[in-house]
Subunit: 349 residues, 2 copies
Amino acid sequence: MSDTAPRTSTAPLLVAAAGGTPAHPPVWFMRQAGRSLPEYREIREGIPMLEACFTPELVREITMQPVRRHGVDAAILFSDIVVPLVAAGIGVDIVPGTGPVVAEPVRTRESVEALPLLAPDGLDPVAEAIRLLRAELGETPLIGFAGAPFTLASYLIEGGPSRHHERTKALMYSDPATWHALLGALATITTTFLTVQVAAGVQAVQLFDSWAGALSERDYREFVQPHSARVLGAVHGVPKIHFGVGTAELLPAMREAGADVVGVDWRLPLDEAVRRLSRPGTPAPVVQGNLDPAALLADFAVVEREVRRIVEEGRAAGGHIVNLGHGVLPNTDPEVLTRVVELVHSLTP
Amino acid sequence: MSDTAPRTSTAPLLVAAAGGTPAHPPVWFMRQAGRSLPEYREIREGIPMLEACFTPELVREITMQPVRRHGVDAAILFSDIVVPLVAAGIGVDIVPGTGPVVAEPVRTRESVEALPLLAPDGLDPVAEAIRLLRAELGETPLIGFAGAPFTLASYLIEGGPSRHHERTKALMYSDPATWHALLGALATITTTFLTVQVAAGVQAVQLFDSWAGALSERDYREFVQPHSARVLGAVHGVPKIHFGVGTAELLPAMREAGADVVGVDWRLPLDEAVRRLSRPGTPAPVVQGNLDPAALLADFAVVEREVRRIVEEGRAAGGHIVNLGHGVLPNTDPEVLTRVVELVHSLTP
C-alpha cells in the first residue's frame, strides 16, 4: 500500500489490499466487463473496440454493467492495453477475432527512437469516463489498469498477438540496448496512462503483464522487471496489483517490482504462492486470485467447492482478493458469476 | 531405464538416459524433422500431413533429414500425436494453419463408449517405417513418440486446438466418471501406439503431454497422472521420456508417472528442475532440455552462451539430454541448429 492511500476506506477490496481484514472477502473478475454479458454484447453491437474505449459514456456504462449485475466489490475500467499506444498516435487497431494489430512493427533502434510520447490530454476521454464512474459508483472502488512494458513490447515487435514471442525474444537477447530503449519508452507511456487514471480518481490499479510467463525468472529480472518497477514506482496513492498468466516462477520478482498485491493464476495454490512470496522482515504478501476460469463452466457444485478451497487457501496471505486466475471466458454463464459473488460474500475472510 | 533396456549401447543419448556419462552430451531437437528444413518443405509439397505419416518411405526420409543435416544424437519418428486416433478410425484431420480438427467431438459418456479400439495392424505403415529407419540409422537411436491421454482428450473434447481447454476442464470437473473412461480409452490407444513402435525397433520413447501445463498439480495428479502412468508402465525395454510445456510445477508428478527422463521447458533452470525432481532414496533424475526455441533466432553469440549455460546447469542431473524447451520454430535457420549440435559435441558432459 502506498503512503497516501485512503486508509480509512472500509471497501473490502481496499481493506484487503492494505493487508487488513474486511467485512467479507472481496471479489471481482478480470474481464468482468465483457463478452460474457448479453448487455455488453448488445451495447457493443457495431461499435469497434477502440471507439468504445474512447467514448466516455460507453466506458461508463460497460464498466458499470457487471457491478450492477453481479454486485462485485470493484469495478474495473473498461479499456484495453493498447489504448495508451493508440492515444500516443502509434498505429494499432483491434481486429475482432485476432486482437491488436500493429501497422508498423517496431524492431529497430530507429523505430524505437521514433516512438511518440503520450500527451496526457490524449487520454481526456478516459479521464472523463473515470469521473463519470466515480460519481456513479459510490462506495465501490474503481480499478484502473495498464499493460506492462513487456507485454506491450511483444505486441509492437511481433505486430500482433504471438504464441511464442520469438521476434520479441530475439531482439531482447541480440540487442539489449534497443530492447531497454523500447521498454523504457513503453514504461514512460504506461506511467502516463496510469497516473492520468489515478489523477482522475481510480482507487487501485492493476498492471497486467499478460505474457511475462513466457520468460524464465533470470530473463524476467534482467530484461523486464526494471521497467515494470519504474512504472509501479511512479504510481502513488493507490494500491498496485500486478498480474501475469503462468507466472508461478516469477511471483517474488513481480512483487519486488513494487506490487502491493500479486495476482496468481490457477496453476499454483494460493497457500503455496504465499509461501513463495514471503520474505523475512517484509509484511505477509497480499494475493489476488485464483479460480480457473474454465472451472466456471462446470457444475455449480464444482464451482462452490473450488471457491471455498481458494478462500481457505487464501487465509495464508496477509490479504486476499478473490478473483479468477485469468479473464472471464466469453462463454461463461453470467448467472454463475453472480452466484460466485453471493457465495464469496457469505464466507469469512 | 527399464529392466530390459540395451545396457550395452554407447550411443550418448541412451547412456545419458540411463544415468551414465556419455562420450559427449547428447543433443536432439523436438520437431527437428519439420518446417525449419527446406528439404522437408520440398518433400511435403502437396502431400497432406496424415498421408505423409502413413507412408513409410516418406516417414523414413523425413525422419532422416535432420540426422543427415545436423548430426543429432537421435532421430525422432516423424509422426503426429493424432496418428493413433486416425489409425483407430476416429475422424480427425490435420488442417494446415489450424492443427487437428475432430469431426465429432467426444463429450458424452455415449461417445466415449463408442470410441473404437486401435488394432495394431492399423499401424503397419508406422512399424514398416521404423524398420526402414533402423536399417538406415546404424548407431543413432530412434525415438518413438505418442501424445499423452490428457492432450489427446483435449483435442477430442474441444474438437481441435484450444487455448483454454475449457470444455475439457468442464467435463473433467463435472463428470469424473466419463472423464476417467475417456482417458482410460486413450491410455489404451496410446499404449498400443507405443508398444507397436517398441516392437518395431524404436530405442526410446517420448510421451508428449503438450497441454498438461494448463493444470494445477492437484488436478494433474487426480485426473491425468494415473492414465499417463498406465501408458508408461506398459512400455518395456526402452527409456521413457515425458515432456510437457509450462510444467515447472508438475515435474515431480510427471516423473512419478513413470518417466526415466523428464523434459523441462526453458522457464525453469535445469539445476532447479533437478532440485525439484530429487527425492531421497531415488536415483538422481535425468532431464532433457531446455533451450528456449526463440533464443535460436538471436545472434549466435547468444545461442552459444545459452547452450553453455544449459550444459553447465544440466551437470546437476543424473544425466542430461540437450534439447529445446519446446519444438523447433518453423522460421529457425537450420544452420543454427547444426552449429548448436557441433557446439554441444565439443563440450564435456
